[in-house]
Each structure stands twice: as C-alpha cells, then as structure tokens.
C-alpha cells in the first residue's frame, strides 16, 4: 500500500463486488435493468462510513449544493440515456462517436461541486458528464450530436470534441493525454493573470500510461500550479482490462514518485469525491500546487456506441470482455439513488420532490433533442472556415 504523507492518506482498496450487491433503492431507469429488488430506506449509519474517502455523509454540505448535485447527476444521466434511445431508435439518422459516461456522474459532479464557474476543466473522449456538470448547455450539446448548426462546435466536432471556452470548458478531446498538459497550462495562465483559478484535467485509467500525463503533472509540481488531475478509473480501456496495462493497484500511487499529494476515492460517491476535491482545490488556490485524485468507478455501457444496449433497457449487457454480474454489482452502487436516499433520509427532500426534480430534468432533456432535430443543417463549404481566424482555405478537392 502506498503512503500518502500529505493530507492524511486516504487511499483505500475497492470493496469487492460481493458487498456491493445488496438490494438498494433505485430510480426508475435503474429498475429497468439492474435487477433492483426493492426500496430499502437507507439510514444515516449505512450511508456515512466516515470521511475516509470512500463513503461520505452530507454533513456540512449546503442544501443548495446537495440539490445541485442531485439535479446535475440526473441531467447528465438522462441526457445520455435519451441520446442513447435516439441512437437506437434510428429515426434521427444519428452517427459518429458516442462515449457514454453513465455510471460515472459522481466523479464529474463531485469534482465540479468544488469548483467555481471561472475555473477550467480539460476533458477527454468520455466527457458529457463533465460538460453538464461544468454548466454546459444541453441544447448546444444535443445540437452537436446531431451535427447541426446550433451545436456547440457548429457540427465540426460531434460528441467527442464538445467545447465551451466561455465556461472554462477547454474541450473534450479525441486523443488520450493532452488534457494534462492543457490543464497544467491553464493553471499556469492563472498564475500569469494573477487569478486564483484552478484547472482540472479529467482522464481515464488508460490516460496515465503516457508521457503527457507525466509531463503535465510533473510540471504542475515543479511550478506549483493550481492543477488537479482526476483519474476516472473505470477498470477498462476500450476492452482492455486496466490491470493489464499498469502494475499498480491504485493509480494514485503515481503521485508518490512526483511528490504530489494523491488520493484514491470512491468514484461512486459524489460526496466523497466532493470532499477530496475540496481539499485539492484549497491546496491549489493557496498556491500549494497540484493534487492527483483517482476515482474508482465504472461505465454501465460499452466503450463507444451501443453494443449490448437495448431500447428501454438501462446499461449494456452481454459484452465479451466483462461479465454482466460485474456490471450489475457496480450498478447496485449507483451514485444517483445513493444520493437520493441520503437526501430523503436527511429530510433535505421528500420522495415526491425528488421525483419531481427528475421528471423536470427529463423533460428538459427531451426538449433539447427536439431543438436539435429542428435545427438547420450545416453548409457543405462551412469547413473551409475556422482553419485560421480570418481566411478560408481553398477547395482543393476540385482539381480543375
């Protein structure tokens, strides 16, 4: 077990699948597929296994923040669910990359809950949840997935490259690794401009095995940059099991070699992620440099696209590289019903209010898809623009 000499060391192994399989209260979309056996009201004792980075209570978190977490996780969840349904239905002629982050909302929302609006994030291919959590406009997100002119990237990017510089979202990216350099650079920029902004890089477990990861983190340590690296370790890289690509048990250990504070946290617990990130943000804002956070989590769908997914069914099953029972074990830890149980148990919300919030979110999501459906298609020759700021490139495909 690696030591963490800074900040008290909260690295902890992932609890085995067995403990995670108890029947827990679940929202509608979970009941569809995850084998839920009933609604057991969680007590304070079961939801708060102390602040060890693994499972957290909600003490000290303002009501507004808790409601925002709940609503934001739902927004991301339902946006992807409804996009998935649209892909499967086939009527909209959707095409292109589509990396679903369902199951991973807690790390996105937990991190963003600790950030300010003017902070930066640099995301990866699986970034929808990051975007929604950082305030991304789901109308423009839907538009981009439809490759329409109302899309965030005017149809140039599609799912994998959605960007909103105005909200500090430096973009999703189709290449593994550069987000660490970009976030370190954004942190550097904050120093140059004399602000106390923080920059967060999100990467998968696969993104740590590459020089840009090492470079971004190491230079953040050297220059004490306000940067946080969040590794969302979902156990797979496409169909590669994480364990075959790295000899470490906890990827946060990588911080030890660079003398960077590092923690492994339960990526299925939005409050645990929030707590860990708050510490990292405080460190960054007071000029103490970067933090490396590993959030252990899981994606309920396939790497990209819809293999194993069915209309109306929550989660993808029958995939060749993982077992359905592994997926179900993780789904049983789902962060959204977990937070909902805590909110209801702690009388932050009634059950009815919780359902109303979810229904409203879902309606809003469906509306964004409709907006996209009705948006104008892009012009053929638009792509000759935006190569450079103010010139067009020639249409060289026409030889004569």
């Amino acid at each position: 077990m690696p030591r963490d000499e800074i900040d008290g060391g909260r690295t902890e192994h992932l609890p085995g699948g067995a403990e995670a399989k108890g029947g827990l209260s679940r929202r509608s979309f979970l009941q569809i597929a995850a084998g839920a056996t009933g609604a057991a009201m969680a007590t304070k004792a079961t939801v708060a296994r102390a602040g060890n980075g693994w499972s957290m209570g909600l003490e000290g978190v303002p009501r507004e923040k808790l409601l925002w977490m709940y609503e934001t996780m739902l927004k991301s969840r339902w946006w992807e669910e409804e996009m998935k349904e649209a892909f499967l239905a086939g009527k909209d002629g959707l095409y292109g990359a589509f990396h679903i982050s369902i199951g991973e909302e807690a790390s996105a929302v937990g991190v963003m809950a600790a950030l300010r609006e003017d902070d930066y994030i640099a995301s990866n291919h699986r970034g929808h949840a990051h975007l929604v959590a950082k305030g991304g406009d789901i109308d423009k997100m839907s538009g981009e997935l439809f490759f329409r002119s109302n899309g965030y990237n005017l149809g140039f990017g599609g799912s994998m490259h959605i960007t909103d510089v105005s909200k500090g979202i430096l973009g999703m990216n189709g290449i593994i690794g550069p987000q660490y350099l970009f976030a370190a650079g954004a942190g550097y920029s904050a120093k140059v401009r004399g602000t106390d902004q923080v920059a967060v890089a999100f990467g998968g477990d696969g993104s740590v095995n590459n020089g840009w990861y090492y470079s971004g983190l190491r230079n953040a340590a050297l220059y004490k940059l306000p940067m946080i690296a969040v590794i969302e370790n979902n156990g797979y890289q496409i169909s590669m099991p994480q364990a075959r690509t790295n000899n470490l048990v906890n990827l946060s250990q990588l911080g030890a070699g660079m003398d960077i504070p590092h923690e492994t946290v339960n990526g299925m617990d939005v409050l645990a992620v929030y707590a860990v990130t708050q510490r990292a943000v405080a460190r960054a804002r007071r000029g103490d440099g970067p933090t490396l956070i590993e959030a252990k989590n899981y994606r309920y769908y396939d790497h990209s696209g819809l293999a194993g997914a069915k209309p109306g069914v929550f989660g993808a099953f029958g995939l060749p590289y993982r077992s359905d029972s592994e997926n179900r074990a993780w789904m049983a830890e789902d962060p959204i019903p977990k937070l909902r149980r805590q909110l209801v148990a702690n009388a932050i919300l009634t059950d009815e209010e919780a359902t109303q919030i979810e229904d409203a979110v879902r309606a809003r999501v469906l509306q964004s898809l409709d907006t996209a459906r009705n948006a104008a298609r892009v012009a053929h020759d638009a792509a000759l623009s935006h190569v450079f700021a103010d010139t067009k490139v020639p249409a060289s495909q026409f030889a004569v």
Partner: protein, 324 residues
C-alpha cells in the same frame, strides 16, 4: 483463394512470418490480433504464439510500441509495432530522429527490422477532428531511412506486409480502414509484393490517374463512368510512397500527356505534390492536376466531410474537364 477482409489478410501475413521466424514479435494496443475469415478460419496470434512474442494487450502508450519496438529490433529481433489510427504521428520524432537515422548515424552498424503497422482512419463522417484523417504517410515519406507502403486492397496488404517483414529497413505500413472491405482474392499461402513496385490497374491512352489507398478505391469506382464517357484512362496505384515508383508514372504520362493525382491527404505537401513535382521535371509539357482533401482538419458533419473528400464523382468530373 477467396476474398478476405483486410485485417484478416494482414494477420495471415504476420502469422505466416511468425511461423517462419521464431522471434518475430508484435506489440499492439487494444486491437487484438485475431480475426475470422469468411470461411470460418480463425487467426488468434496471441493464442498461437503467446507471451512475450504477442503480449496480452498493451498500454495506451504508442511511443512504447515504436521506441521499445526499435530497441527490440536493434537487438536482432524483427518487430511489428501496431499504432492506432487516431494518432498517426504520436511517434513521429522517434521515427525521424531514431528509427530512420540509426543505421546511417552508426555507419551502417544498426539494423532496424521494425515494421510500424499504422492504422489510419481515412475520411469518414461523424468521427471528426482526430479520427477521420488521411495523408500522414507523406510526412513519413519525407523522412530519410524510412520506407512507406499503402495498400489499397487486402491482397496487396498481405503481400506488402510480408515484404515489409522481410525488409532489413524500417517500413511504415499504412493501413486505411477503408481497404478492409474491398473484395479481392487473397491467396492462403505467403507471397511478396515488392516494395517500390507500382500496380498498373488499367491501361489507357487519354490520361494517367494516380492514387493509392483510399484514393485508389475512389479511382476504381470512377472507371465505369469514365469508360461510359469514352475516356481511356491509365490507372496506376504506386502502393509504395517511399521508394516511389516514379518511373512507371513518368512512362505513363509520356504516353497520355495528362496526369491527375488523387489524394485523400491535404493539398499542401501531400504525396500528390511530390508526384506532380517529379513528373513536371521529367515530362515537360504534360498537363498536371491534383484533387486532394483541402488544407483543413476533417469536420464531423457528413455534409462537410463528404463534400471535401475526393471521390468518384469528383474524379469523373475533373477527368472530363481535363480531356475535354
């Protein structure tokens, strides 16, 4: 003899050579080296050859495949490094400053029997940005000490891969995904297509059409329309970009007097530039043109990228104008 998908044909080539050479080693990322032929034959290189010659997966670390692969190759073990399609240039510095230079820099001491099996997306809607690229073979061809081949169908892919695996020098094998579904017969046995040898796909007298990889596929699709229009096109697929079989092209242009190079790479400094420059100097008076993807990254929307890609209709159109 039967049509086989491109990926199967290449694995067949590698299997053939791994059986001949007990050390031949392959490193790869997530593209497991297994495929099934249309007749049900399964190739699974990991099952057949096992660790360490074919490890069970690899990290997302392309520089390891190429840089570590170079270290393996330098010690006398022929090596294949497979690099995924979205990062055709992730290892460019290593290829430029190490792989391509070490033989020369050491006065001939270092052998570098390294094949980089470079997957390439090719132009396609929906992928956008980094996942619909083409043309980077030209950048590698600009590097001293590197050979570059680009098959346009599974048959050539197999023969060129075997040639690459027997070559004493580093070879980049650019594998566009679009060639996988081209239906051609692929012999079961091993055979070599010599690196640097063009294929004359069709003889003709009115114009010379040159293109490789995905452009060759589009040229091929344009042929019925050209024939219908009474145009006799000579069609050349160079297959190797370095060495470039320029003599075959020059000879054809001397005959036809007209050259259209079709390239899914960019306009500026793509392979088409080199071909046109060489023909211009060797065959004075020829009429020269190129149809390329514009100097822009690939956009996601189908409307845009389809319009930008040199395809059969655009080729027919250009040829009609050139011979008019």
């Amino acid at each position: 003899m039967a049509p086989k998908p491109g990926n199967y044909a290449v694995l067949e080539a590698i299997q053939h050579e791994m059986r001949r050479d007990p050390h031949l080693t392959m490193l790869y990322e997530y593209q497991r080296p297994t495929a099934v032929s249309p007749t049900g034959t399964v190739i699974d290189l990991h099952a057949e050859f096992g660790e360490p010659r074919i490890p069970d997966w690899g990290p997302i670390d392309e520089e390891w495949f190429v840089g570590g692969g170079a270290g393996i190759a330098m010690t006398g073990v022929r090596t294949i490094a497979r690099v995924p399609s979205m990062c055709t240039l992730r290892c460019f510095e290593l290829v430029f400053n190490q792989v391509g230079k070490l033989r020369h820099m050491t006065g001939g001491q270092v052998n570098m029997p390294l094949v980089i099996w470079q997957d390439a997306s090719g132009r396609r809607p929906g992928s956008a940005g980094q996942h619909a690229d083409a043309g980077q073979e030209a950048l590698y061809a600009a590097i001293p000490g590197i050979k570059v081949v680009v098959p346009a169908n599974p048959h050539d892919a197999k023969g060129l891969m075997i040639a690459a695996l027997r070559d004493p020098d580093p070879v980049i094998f650019f594998h566009y995904s679009g060639i996988n579904s081209v239906s051609v017969d692929v012999p079961d046995e091993g055979y070599v297509i010599p690196i640097g040898e063009a294929a004359i796909r069709q003889e003709g007298t009115d114009i010379t059409l040159v293109g490789y990889g995905p452009a060759a596929i589009e040229i091929n699709k344009s042929l019925p329309d050209l024939a219908a229009a009474g145009i006799s096109a000579e069609v050349i697929d160079p297959r190797s970009i370095k060495p470039l079989p320029i003599e075959a092209i020059n000879a054809s242009v001397r005959k036809t007097g007209k050259l259209l190079v079709v390239d899914h790479g960019h306009e500026t400094l793509g392979t088409a530039s080199e071909i046109i420059a060489r023909v211009a100097m060797a065959v004075p008076g020829a009429k020269l043109a190129r149809s390329t993807f514009p100097d822009a990254p690939p956009p996601g929307a189908a409307e845009m990228i389809t319009w930008m890609t040199p395809d059969a209709p655009k080729i027919v159109d250009a040829v009609r104008k050139m011979v008019a």
